[in-house]
């Protein structure tokens, strides 16, 4: 990612948001038993991956991750740094349909994003 943005400190301007926690009280009763093949296909989680590129500014990547996933600024910043330093980062894992939605969102912000079976 491009280094130009280092002059800008937006930390005070973009307060973090937090994902709503899943309800631990939720109870699943008598879930139907599917055949093995179906379970494998449906339950395989998908990773949404963002790749490093020399164009996107670092604060922008952080802001996009906050906007798309509702991550806190600290979490989004850490992911952005992982992208920058390690070349890529898994920014989300879960159902395939949601993964597709998130990849579309990220590509709409011109991040180099793709999805892959975990």
């Amino acid at each position: 990612m491009n280094q130009v943005e280092r002059r800008i400190d937006i930390r005070d301007r973009w307060p973090g948001q937090f994902l709503a926690a899943a309800n631990p009280e939720t109870e699943v009763l008598d879930a139907p038993i599917a055949d093995t093949e179906t379970v494998t296909e449906q339950d395989t989680p998908w990773n949404v991956i963002v790749f490093n590129d020399p164009v996107n500014l670092m604060p922008y990547v952080t802001m996009v991750l906050q906007k798309v996933f509702g991550y806190s600024e600290a979490k989004a910043t850490q992911m952005m740094l992982d992208v920058h330093q390690k070349g890529k980062c898994v920014v989300w894992s879960g159902e395939r349909e949601k993964a597709e939605f998130y990849v579309q969102q990220l590509q709409g912000y011109q991040l180099q994003a793709t999805m892959k079976k975990a």
Partner: protein, 173 residues
Amino acid sequence: MHITKSEDGTQLMIGGLGETELEMLRGVRDAADPTACPEAERRLFPAPIADADEHDFDTIADWKEFVVPDLRTRFDDALDQLESDVADARQVRKLPMKRFVVKLRVEHVELWYSALNQARLVLQEKYKLPSENTSLSLEDLFAKGQWRAYFQSRFYAEVQCWLLEAGMPDGWR
């Protein structure tokens, strides 16, 4: 060159623009055109699935049919908005050098950012510009015919920094 926000917070003004800078802003659409550069096309519209197998063909086909056109429209809208705002540039000084000001509404900041980003992504792929981390040689830039694209991309990056600093709309917080 400078960027200021109107007192009521509804507009940004990019002032002190010389003819060269204004020309570069007018050139954003051309710079962002990935035609004849498959790498740029692939960068703007990447494949949705890494290591796709035969089970993913339908998803990829659907993506090309529905998602890519949607992204293309979204990207074009951003270019349209920037172009429209730049077309309304006002000359504020003639001597000793012409100076211009471009105004944009705060709601357009995200579209401007997107348009400039598209241009930088395409310039990067077309000209394989050196990254910030590599040592920069002007001689190399000239020899490889990269100098214009390089300075254009640097200028767009500067404007993007200002836009981030000036603030994205509320939806970004």
